[in-house]
Symmetry: C2
Subunit: 212 residues, 2 copies
């Protein structure tokens, strides 16, 4: 069994915490969503949402009417986590089972992106992260769409990554047991695009062909 991956304090079986921006950025850039938690009247809430990292900030967006967004834009403290699961680590005992993962935790508070130009830039980064190269191809964003959407930025300041990789670590006295041990790698990726009824007879645009 895996011991939990506490981001707070070193524990008995702590995986190395890593504070290198390159490591933290590479995990953030690979993840499609983050989970944002905050306290409201002393109760914890957490919500998954799309995000993009640009330079030393994370950007999210949402409806101006969303309670989540309106709570966050006050600048309250949030905890943002991102988790990538790479493999199940199968040991010879349940106790030594684990998971190969890469995770990031960020403590921050939102800064509202105020100007229309900056908002549009954040929306471009968000869209191009989900479908690289698509922003310039799409129907241009409209003024009222920008107006209806809030963009929030979070500085990646107080952040750390945790990574477990490699094979299981069994107890020495278990190593010779005739029990299979190793990894079950996990698949993460994009499959071939499926057109909707308006695009059935349309060739895939180049940026989507390239994304496979």
């Amino acid at each position: 069994m895996a011991t939990p991956k506490s981001h707070l304090v070193p524990s008995r079986s702590a995986k190395r915490a890593n504070y290198e921006p390159e490591t933290i950025h590479s995990i953030l850039d690979e993840a499609l969503y983050c989970t944002i938690s905050y306290s409201y009247e002393n109760k914890p809430f957490s919500i998954p949402t799309a995000f993009v990292r640009y330079e030393d900030k994370i950007y999210i967006h949402g409806s101006v009417g969303s309670h989540f967004i309106r709570e966050l834009e006050k600048g309250i403290p949030v905890c943002i986590t991102v988790t990538l699961m790479d493999a199940l680590v199968v040991a010879k005992s349940a106790f030594n089972h684990s998971v190969n993962y890469r995770s990031v935790v960020i403590f921050a508070q939102a800064e509202k992106v105020e100007s229309v130009e900056d908002k549009i830039e954040a929306f471009k980064w968000l869209t191009d992260k989900i479908v690289p190269g698509s922003w310039d191809y799409l129907r241009p964003i409209k003024e009222n769409e920008v107006r209806k959407t809030t963009a929030l930025a979070f500085k990646i300041d107080e952040a750390s990554a945790k990574i477990r990789s490699g094979m299981p670590v069994d107890d020495e006295e278990d190593e010779a047991l005739p029990i299979w041990s190793g990894l079950i790698p996990l698949q993460n990726g994009r499959m071939a695009p499926l057109p909707d009824k308006f695009s059935e007879h349309m060739p895939l645009p180049a940026h989507l062909v390239g994304s496979l």
Copy 2:
């Protein structure tokens, strides 16, 4: 762009919240980890961890020395989220982009699993979830391993699921635009097991062959 999936309150573009236990259970059973958030001195913390659902409870485990576990076992309020990403929803405008996902949010507090027998049962469920059928095959758990590990249960009482599925929904006036729209399905699965150096010449056990 997707509007965020607030679990708290209906929003302008709320996806249907679902409170059916079967729906909630099926999402929980498919997910390999959950993110647990809690407040500590008014600051939010969140941590990804393995879990299993058994009947109407979720079980997690961790080192008895872990600060995370010791905080949770006090019975403080937690928010548990699980997110499965099914597809990127590519619309003709950035604004109508979305994500097909299935998520669950649970508000609960931990109950510590006290007896050795109940703890072992929880560890069996956890292990058999990660690698189905493996518990009876592995080196049996030892008394000191049970002693070193805390098991916590959370009742799935205050819980809801949210699901978005299907094709993009574009603005009517955009439908005829020569812009590709559709889905990019996301891959999630297990790949062929990779043996470690102790298992290289060992045939895969039947329960691992079956898991592919």
